[in-house]
Symmetry: C2
DNA sequence: AAACAAAATGTAAACGTTAACATTTGTGCT
DNA sequence: AGCACAAATGTTAACGTTTACATTTTGTTT
């Protein structure tokens, strides 16, 4: 009754009285096959609902049309646009995306890399779980050994030999704090990621530099966290509950800023009481008439740059990409 | 100098003087292999940085550990959580995610399905580009034929024989409009998706019903769109610019609501002038002290339900899933 | 120590495709 | 008509695994 099973190239070959090789050719290099044969083959292929078996193809041809994407968190709006950019560009070159959300867990990151390797991905875009100097993921040697092209984004794995696309971290701290100081604020709470995160460190350096340039005395309080919303909210909440009253809170990423805003509300205050500054744009804030001033990077551009570097490296193993920095700008 | 190439099961076998079969067994069914042999094999495997070749494995075993996810738009916050849920659950059962963003294009959707089929995915979670009755994607017969488990989410493909997880559409319209009417509003602008979208149709039916129940005369204006932000903004902008002044705007999804809010601002008005109601929660609105009243569904739950249905169906082909509806609730 | 079962390993083949090379068929030219 | 060459198709083998079945080794029982 029902057609047997998935049709293969062999089934097609039988039907048209040709070899599988000819069928394969018809499908992959149509110009190498007589017009009529081609037509017949394509017709039969359609008839049988033929779908090529990517596994067989990739196994034999030893290359895959897969790109791996390892990202720390899918529901971080910062990454959403990046993924979008990567997905769009990859598609154009007929690559598909194998997506891994490590949820901040090194073990999951490890597993993700293994899985990607087992799928012989053509390349990997990697946003690592932690960018502190003590993070030495076990997969690193494996990754280097296979010589799979890898491009890092946002977070830099200190010892990894892979180029990456990063943000203006020092600048963002400096510009942000400079702005706040100019506005007359003097007492600050900075809420960052992990204390040892190089991104946080670098942003803080920029911040301290801006403070140094202020002729008047200033006060800087710093809370560390993990770049996510809930912990930032709790930390700021506790801080405020203890009676401290900074002029401004500087959130070192979107989620931290959101958490801080929550805490301010929770304490019954508003931005009239405490100014808020963010690194990267808090989505929709402007729609609610409360744009949060920020130093913002074009994240779509970040994704675009990364995937293009990767694709180029895949095509041309000679190509030796170097780190790129996505410039940011003040949005007040 | 450098180790040759990727190590295979054969390399390991040679090193330990055993057959590939034993090695394969050691890796997959350790209990079937003598303890010492197992130990040696694992040791050598580590030493050689062995990574199994998923293509070879899947080709031979005729099953893949891949799940396909086709979604209309990655940067829609509504889907972000869904993807998160799916990713988490899939990982637990050792499935990886092949992700496709169709960007609203039927052609891309077609290609996505083909690619997924070629990767022999174990199952597909599908959020289709359009849910209107005239949408007859060409891939449908192919999909049915292969008997791959498919679970739809959010948007229902009218003629498809696949179960799905959907929202309370009629209810959301009814409850939303009922609320607005109770609040004393009488003149409404509803901004929906495509005119023929069943979701929009159903939500509008709920809305009309609520209006029917209002003892006083009411006015209902309707604008159609495509569930995205920019077109909604433009449409509402034009509408307002023409001088119309509804008491309230009812946005039939998050992006539409966001677009409407933009338009209201653009026209120099605020929510004091025009009330806004949304289907599903506008992210971060509460953080800005401007929560948008809405009829909200738990999207994480939606993703969870869908992936669990799919996983169950994959394990047990007998299982015949039926449509699930995720209940929503008013959040005022 | 024989007999037999269980445990451990092996042999052969196959999954669906493509690469490399070989052969046949067709075409234009003198 | 015969030759050279291009076009079209074919043969063989391999990619790295696993499945099904076969054989060998080990252990237990009496």
């Amino acid at each position: 009754m029902t057609k047997p099973d998935k049709a293969t190239i062999t089934d097609i070959a039988k039907r048209v009285n040709m070899t599988t090789v000819t069928v394969s050719r018809a499908l992959n290099r149509p110009e190498k096959v007589k017009k009529e044969t081609l037509a017949r083959i394509l017709e039969v292929a359609r008839e049988l609902n033929y779908v090529p078996n990517a596994f067989a193809r990739n196994l034999k041809s030893r290359e895959s049309r897969l790109i791996g994407l390892i990202t720390a968190s899918l529901d971080n709006p910062f990454y959403a646009k990046i993924i979008k950019a990567i997905s769009r560009e990859a598609k154009k070159k007929d690559y598909s995306l194998l997506l891994f959300d490590t949820d901040g867990s090194p073990e999951l990151e490890e597993r993700a890399v293994d899985t990607l390797l087992s799928y012989q991905v053509a390349g990997i875009i990697l946003s690592v779980v932690s960018d502190d100097d003590d993070y030495h993921p076990a997969y690193l040697p494996k990754l280097e050994l296979t010589r799979i092209p890898v491009i890092q984004i946002d977070r830099k794995l200190a010892e990894a030999p892979f180029a990456g696309v990063y943000l203006e971290n020092w600048e963002s701290g400096y510009q942000g704090m400079h702005t706040l100081v100019e506005q007359g604020h003097r007492h600050f709470l900075v809420v960052g990621g992990p204390e040892k995160s190089n991104i946080t460190i670098s942003r803080l350096e920029g911040i301290r530099r801006a403070l140094d340039e202020c002729p008047e005395p200033t006060q800087l309080d710093v809370l560390y966290g993990d770049y996510t919303q809930a912990p930032a909210r709790e930390a700021v909440n506790t801080y405020l509950a203890s009676g401290k009253r900074p002029d401004a809170i500087f959130g070192l990423n979107i989620l931290i800023t959101l958490g801080s805003l929550e805490a301010i509300r929770a304490q019954g205050m508003s931005r009239d009481d405490i100014e808020v500054f963010s690194i990267d744009q808090v989505p929709y804030a402007d729609i609610f008439g409360q744009p949060v001033p920020c130093f913002s990077h074009n994240t779509y551009q970040l994704g675009l740059t990364a995937i293009n570097m990767l694709l180029r490296k895949i095509d041309d193993p000679q190509y030796d990409p170097t780190d790129e920095i996505i410039k940011g700008e003040l949005i007040l």
